[in-house]
Subunit: 418 residues, 2 copies
Amino acid sequence: MTLEEVLKEAARLVTPSEEEERNVKEISQSVKELVSQIVREEGVNSEVEVYGSSARGTWLPGQRDIDVFVVMLDRERSPEDVVRLLTRRFSELGLNWTLRYAQHPYVTLQVRSYEVDIVPCYKIQPGERPVTAADRSPLHHKFLVERLKPEQALEVRLLKRFLQTIGVYGAEVKVEGFSGYLSELLVAYYGSFINVLKAATSWRPYRTYISFYESNAKFKAPLIVLDPVDPNRNAAAAVSLTSMSIFILAARRFLKRPSLSYFRQEQGDLVEGVNRVEVVYPYPNEPPDVVWGRFKRLGRALASWLRECGFRVMRWGVESDERTYVSLIYVVEQTQLPPYVIHRGPPVYDEAVDKFIEKYLGSDVVGPFVQGTRVYVIKRRRYTEITECISARLGKGGYNIRVNLYSGELIRKNPWIT
Amino acid sequence: MTLEEVLKEAARLVTPSEEEERNVKEISQSVKELVSQIVREEGVNSEVEVYGSSARGTWLPGQRDIDVFVVMLDRERSPEDVVRLLTRRFSELGLNWTLRYAQHPYVTLQVRSYEVDIVPCYKIQPGERPVTAADRSPLHHKFLVERLKPEQALEVRLLKRFLQTIGVYGAEVKVEGFSGYLSELLVAYYGSFINVLKAATSWRPYRTYISFYESNAKFKAPLIVLDPVDPNRNAAAAVSLTSMSIFILAARRFLKRPSLSYFRQEQGDLVEGVNRVEVVYPYPNEPPDVVWGRFKRLGRALASWLRECGFRVMRWGVESDERTYVSLIYVVEQTQLPPYVIHRGPPVYDEAVDKFIEKYLGSDVVGPFVQGTRVYVIKRRRYTEITECISARLGKGGYNIRVNLYSGELIRKNPWIT
């Protein structure tokens, strides 16, 4: 397929049905009206608005989130107050709501198959320091509405789906990728989906600095995209080195060989016989970002430990359904190591050589022997089974180790690359 | 044991019996007289002398070599001529002789349990350029006789046996160690066995330069000991980096913990369960130095190849009885590798990434995936059995591969270290 054919077909895949458009509009409007009425009755000095992708027509088909903001015009009430009064009234009305926390509390209202987030925030001016992270959203909305023409909504949707397929859509700790807002900023900056990809092929980690205005702000991050409403903020701060690199690679390959594979969520073929081990924990009762953060750190530490023990970790990752389990997965060369390993000591003329020799004098080792200028022994390994090695680090309880049972993405072919 | 006790007992071990002393003297004398008579009768203008350790009382007990030199006073005859006429006369006398070649031909005469090497050479003056490598021997002898007092013969013997036990005695390609002449030079230079060891603890490879006279001669070698009879020659040229380092280590340890283990030839205990593989060839009909040289080169190349294939070679070596077999031995972590291995590609922003991706597009690989800035695949190994890997390099015939049967020094404890 030519690039034009792929883009045409992809446009179909990323454009919501008329019914979905209608549903989102209807639900946005009715929740906005309900919330407006409540805050008016409760005397909260505020404007209630629909912001985010649902308001700008840039959401992806099937996405079930709608954002309604309660923008407080003064600082008399806290977001907690507003959440409290909303939930009380929702309960009286018999509505299905959940209390949630990001950096601040918000309420999620379940309306048919949609989740409407109702987020309280304070009104701020461009450049003004936000009180809560949500305070920037009205400014973001205003900026994007001014900059993006209606027909560019499709470009945003193409980019979002592309990012989603290659696994780097979302600023959450799980993904460490491109937020929806960042995707829209990139289209606003480069003009179109294809222009974003073309630009990305010459991006270089830690050297790419994108700004709508002249700026002297300094950031240390793989990708820097200055937030036009707050020049002290890098809108791409969440993008990890790997996520940025995946996008550069995908952009390069897509432009070379356009394909619909970049717009379809498919699983790659399983590669049989690759050794892997999975450490499965029950999902803790904590917000996802906290859980992903902690398990990614634990996963990295365990990967180092496995390498220290002699296991070759080829690839590792954290997976979770964010409900029942979270697991650390290690794709390894082998799950069992041979009994002996070489151990390098100091040069023969170094003071430290005496301690080394004396340590191994009585042991069941080959040597000590000399190669070049250094002394070596061949000694027994401490752990030969990967399960022993893992237990030695993690302790006895609270998890299960599954050897060669995992069948997820980490041992599959890349489903999108062309 | 104290150092004094060890040295006293070691002196006993390295001093030949009176009977052996008598035998060596008698045989040296009678062969010298026989050869003198022959060359006189054949009109070779020469002096016949016993040189080497047997003449200086510095041989090790049980050593069965005696050296008799035919030092030609002019250049009328070639060494080959002299060898020819000697062998003709030996045959007429019904003596048991063998023709041998080092860098020049010589005759070995079997007398009782001794091998007497009869070596023709040209008389040269100190500093004069030798015609054959043997021409320096009379000068070496003269230098050592002048410099070493009779009681220092014991010091030389202690050093030689010490070097022998730790496996670095001999300048031949097999050992790449310290020649007998070099051992005597070191005792002449430092005065005693213990003083040589003390000096060696502060030797540094490529920085140690020992000379009896001031000299500006430059050499590139781990150890440099200027030959006092030829300042353009490094008498320690044969000493490899490893051999020098072994000596430094042994000297250091012996001085720290003196032991008779440095004067007894013992085998270390076998360490069970270490993986190893042996490639056994029939011994070729060529001089030992040629065979050792070729098989060491082949051994090194095969070690690199095994590493390239993913086998971890912990130690390797060449062994031979110099008669029936020569074999390459590899002590390895494992003789069988797991089926998959990670393969690192270029950074995502590098031109080369396209070729890498396209190479693996149709293959049964995990990925291609990105970590950091680079692209990777997890792919099948070419060889998982070490025997396959070896055959792929060495071809089909002419050798046998033995897996986990070798039981020599390379998988034993160090028998001398203390």
